[in-house]
């Protein structure tokens, strides 16, 4: 199996980062499934890298020399506030409501 030990602790840690409250049963399920997928993904280690040392995926993205599209600094107007708020599960006035952020 995977070189990485996918134990319940790791699954919990990842679920915490991803903001998912998994049940104990789900933790078991994902432990098994993640272990399986990760051990498959680890075959990437076999690939012989023939890329230039300075090659980076981020800077080489897009067609050569093409920069991020830019837009002019012109106000296009915002959503009518009722439209912005309409689908909020909870609101007060025109603000979104969440449980009190404590501490």
């Amino acid at each position: 199996m995977s070189k990485i030990q996918v134990d319940r602790e790791l699954v919990r840690k990842v679920a915490d980062l991803a903001h998912l409250s998994l049940s104990e049963q789900e933790i078991g399920l994902y432990q098994e499934r993640l272990a399986k997928v990760l051990s498959y993904v680890e075959q990437l280690d076999e690939v012989h890298e023939s890329l230039d040392k300075n090659w980076r995926p981020d800077t080489s993205r897009g067609e050569a020399g093409v920069s991020a599209l830019e837009r002019r600094d012109v106000v296009e107007g915002s959503l009518p506030v009722e439209e912005a708020m309409k689908q909020a599960p909870a609101r007060i006035g025109t603000a979104f409501q969440v449980p009190r952020i404590l501490e």
Partner: protein, 491 residues
């Protein structure tokens, strides 16, 4: 809708005054009413809204003239991860069960400008994550050729409906094969354009560097007509590019025997182990047909292609884990009913309830591969492999190959439930299509045979970046030389 209508035939009839958008819509809706339920292909089927859209299209046709509208009167089905203003856009997820899009995706604007209109929103694997359409929160879609079988995914609703002729065309999205594989499973044509050629604005993101919208149609010519309208630079998508080519539908008419003189590359890796025997024999016959149509066949190798699934599942899930972070139940979307929760528990419960199993699994995988200590081993490495795979494709094309020919899927459609318990088996069903997304290339699936059980088999053609002209003219020449696209499911 008469069962043999295509995009092309509708436009012709609208232009000659024999058909209006509203009558086309009525025909569509009537057929949908009787068949859609069997397939579970539609998520939103609002007849009044569809007719209102058709009426607006007719008005436009009247004012501007059908001759100036390349898709005059064409009813279009839309995968439910593409925003249509005022219509629910659920992405097949409980998370967005009640979410109503507040704007139109750029492709929707382009379609309407061209005279087309939306007639339904289609079922899909939740957030486009799946290869069988069994991951929809609103039930699996069934394959119109055999209701016990999956239609493929994630654009399963789109593919099943077009195969069942509920409309001549549907929009899908393709991150790792999600247009081509269901097109193959349902016996229709599915085009994934070059990355950047069709705007992603309004497409709910899965893997942003891989996602691309494209059409599912019953003929290559219809796909070309759609590409004429869909492709184009869009100021609201920073990764969109002005396509250097245009006039795809016209090119097909002008060059109906495009395969003559072309060199078709056969990547050996796709024909080695793991290929279903029936699919293999369909492909052998297809290669022979291509040859008969005047193409030369050349065996090529893509040395790193076997790593494409591994690289894909790192990159796509990493991007997805961030793309799906916005679903937190604060501004819209599912929010847990639990009382007296603190902020963190509100997030965690809302997300846990709103997302299905496969989506959570991929969020977890993506979160893990980006997390501290694992980034280099997984995310960086996967991106390097992605580059190597892109270079393998480029080298193949540089060796004098015009198009590559592969199976679209290593297997024919499988039974509902057959692969649900094994995530890897499901992931591997995309092995033929994923490399194309990693390299940002255009690919098309066209019908090339049927299994003994009568299930469709598709063949994939792949072209260099921004060369949809070669892709579509080649696929069209093959289609002219064969009859498979004319078969319709026995509904």
């Amino acid at each position: 809708m008469p069962a043999n209508q295509t995009v092309k035939s509708i436009v012709e009839q609208v232009r000659s005054g024999k058909l209006t958008a509203v009558t086309a819509a009525h025909a569509c809706l009537e057929r949908t009413r009787t068949i859609a339920q069997k397939l579970n292909s539609h998520l939103h089927f609002d007849e009044a809204a569809a007719l209102a859209e058709a009426a607006a299209a007719d008005l436009r046709i009247k004012t501007i003239g059908a001759d100036k509208l390349p898709l005059a009167g064409v009813p279009v089905l839309v995968k439910d991860n593409i925003c249509v203003r005022g219509s629910k856009t659920t992405c097949g997820s409980k998370m967005l069960e009640n979410y109503v899009a507040t704007y139109d995706a750029s492709v929707i604007k382009r379609l309407r400008e061209a005279g087309a209109f939306v007639v339904g929103k289609m079922n899909m694997d939740e957030f486009a994550m799946g290869s069988s359409n069994e991951n929809s929160a609103f039930g699996a879609v069934r394959n119109p050729w055999n209701l016990e079988y999956v239609p493929g995914g994630s654009s399963g609703g789109s593919a099943a409906a077009v195969a069942a002729r509920l409309a001549p065309v549907a929009l899908g999205s393709d991150t790792g094969g999600s247009i081509r594989q269901p097109a193959s499973f349902c016996g229709i044509v599915g085009l994934k354009p070059t990355y950047g050629s069709v705007s992603r604005s309004g497409l709910v993101a899965f893997g942003s560097s891989l996602d691309q919208i494209g059409p599912l149609t019953t003929t290559v010519e219809d796909a070309a007509m759609m590409m004429d309208v869909l492709a184009g630079l869009d100021a609201s998508d920073s990764t969109s590019v002005k396509h250097p080519q245009s006039g795809f539908a016209k090119a097909l008419l002008e060059n109906p025997e495009a395969l003559k003189g072309m060199t078709i590359g056969i990547p050996e890796e796709f024909f080695e182990s793991g290929l279903d025997a029936e699919v293999g024999s369909c492909l052998e016959r297809a290669i022979a047909d291509v040859q008969k149509a005047g193409a030369k066949i050349k065996r090529v190798r893509l040395p790193n292609i076997s790593y494409s699934v591994a690289a894909y599942y790192v990159i796509a899930t990493a991007e997805a884990s961030a793309n799906l972070a916005r679903f937190d139940g604060v501004r819209y979307g599912h929010r847990t009913q639990g009382a007296n929760l603190n902020l963190k528990d509100l997030y965690r419960k809302s997300r846990n309830e709103g997302f299905g199993r496969e989506v959570k699994q991929r969020i977890m995988l993506g979160t893990f591969v980006l997390s501290s200590g694992y980034y280099d081993a997984f995310y960086s490495k996967a991106n390097k492999v992605r580059e190597l795979i892109s270079r393998d494709f480029a080298a193949a094309f540089d060796s004098g190959v015009d198009l590559l020919l592969t199976p679209t899927s290593p297997t024919p459609p499988f039974k509902l439930g057959e692969k649900l318990s094994d995530p890897l088996a499901m992931y591997l069903s995309d092995i033929c299509t994923i490399g194309v997304n990693l390299a940002g290339l255009p690919g098309i699936s066209v019908p090339c045979g049927r299994t003994k059980a009568g299930l469709p088999v598709g063949m994939q053609l792949i072209a260099p970046k921004f060369n949809e002209l070669t892709l579509l003219t080649g696929a069209h020449a093959y289609e002219r030389a064969t009859e498979w696209h004319k078969d319709q499911p026995p509904l």
